[in-house]
């Protein structure tokens, strides 16, 4: 798969495969095209080369890298979870418990800390019971302890839903330790050899 914009390849020769129940990492430095790759896999941006094959009726849950919610929007935690679909109260409770936010009550999302907000987004993504979870640097801006906790939560969700997880990160060590597979993206200026 490749994506070509403004006279250059943003990413090229990306070949990644996620099976049900697997945890696969995409690792890369800033600007290597990790988010671009993720968005292409989700179908948010078109690809210019290659193909993306999805299982039949594949349901994807997505946690974007950065999401800023305008504080003038009075969204509570539970209301955010109900944003795209009318989930039952029990489902909402379950998702909140799964990400460990049950003790917070129902605060406005604008008052959540960075780590809490990431976990809330994770809860939002798991509510649709996806076959694949795509997480774009979920631990970004979260301290080491928080990141550990987050990755434990992700693991539990993966086991519970039996879904595949594609996680974008820049932590190669983490990927080697916990991932079933990983892919490293390198910012490339040296691709001319196969631009035919």
């Amino acid at each position: 798969m490749g994506i070509y914009r403004s006279n250059r390849w943003l990413v090229r020769h990306v070949d990644v495969k996620v099976l049900r129940g697997q945890l696969v990492y995409i690792i890369g430095a800033n600007g290597a095209g990790k988010t671009t790759t993720a968005k292409a896999l989700l179908g948010l941006i078109p690809t210019d080369e290659g193909e993306i094959r999805r299982g039949p009726a594949l349901k994807v849950g997505y946690v974007p890298q950065r999401l800023h919610i305008n504080p003038t929007l009075p969204l509570t935690m539970r209301r955010l979870l109900r944003l795209t679909e009318r989930y039952k109260n029990t489902e909402i409770d379950h998702a909140i418990t799964a990400v460990g936010l049950q003790r917070l009550g129902n605060p406005f999302v604008s008052t959540l800390s960075g780590g809490e907000f990431q976990r809330l987004l994770l809860a939002q993504a798991m509510l649709s019971r996806p076959d694949l979870l795509l997480l774009d640097e979920p631990a970004q801006g979260v301290d080491a302890a928080g990141a550990d906790k987050l990755h434990n939560i992700i693991d539990r969700i993966r086991i519970e839903l039996g879904c595949g997880v594609l996680c974008i990160s820049h932590d190669l060590q983490l990927a080697m330790d916990t991932g079933d597979d990983f892919l490293v993206l390198i910012p490339h200026e040296h691709d001319e050899m196969d631009s035919t």
């Binding site: 968005k39 989700l42 179908g43 919610i69 003038t72 929007l73 969204l75 944003l83």
Partner: protein, 275 residues
Amino acid sequence: MTLFDDFLIRSLIAGIGVALIAGPMGCFVVWRRLAYFGETIAHSALLGITVAVVFSFNFMLGVLISSIAVVVVMYYIDRSENLPTETLLGLLAHGGLAIGLVVLSFFPNMRMDLEALLFGDILAVSKTDLVVIWIGGGVVFASLLFLWRQLLTSTVSEDLAKVAGMRPDLTNLCFGLLMAIVIAGAVKIVGILLIVALLIIPAATARKFAISPEIMAALAGLIGVVGVIGGLGSSLYWDTPAGPSMVVTLMILFALSRVLKISYGTTEKSATRNK
């Protein structure tokens, strides 16, 4: 002789109709930071009005046409140009205003009350205007109900909306068209220069007391209605201009809501009910 023969009743009903719908729309304007987008549609409305006067048809229709033109042009230019959005908006806003004034100068015999256009002329609302306003308002209200989930989701994140199978690009276009209708209705009430006030001040006031987007939208509509009634009352008793008086009333309500902040200071953390 019916109730609607009284100009004051007509003004009141027209004002309430516009305010009820401007409130919820204004919430989206605030949430999506689209105040300048609203200004652009409003300013360029002068061109639409000029066209309507020249060809002598209802000027709300003229405003609707120019507003829709602005929305569609923005929709396409915003994707292809690499200028900042607010630069494009400024270009269209003042371009539309200037072209309107220049075109107007070609028709020296045509009398147009510029002050009424800029600041509204609610006391001159006709029965036709009334019908048009309430039908337009009904259309906008129904569309908002229908599109609510999509609009809200794409306000939070267009990517999340797409992943959930929605079409935020179409949602945004629809929202722009709804804005065009609201502004066409509001020109008569508060005038080109004050429309955005009618959109954003009720929403800004309502935020303080809202624990969900829906409540904020409903509150904003009601606050707008209070503004309309206050403005018309002031106009009646003290002979002040109606449109600006409405905006002043809304400003007073907003200021009051800020003062109340002290006693409501804990609402942010304690919104425990859910919607």
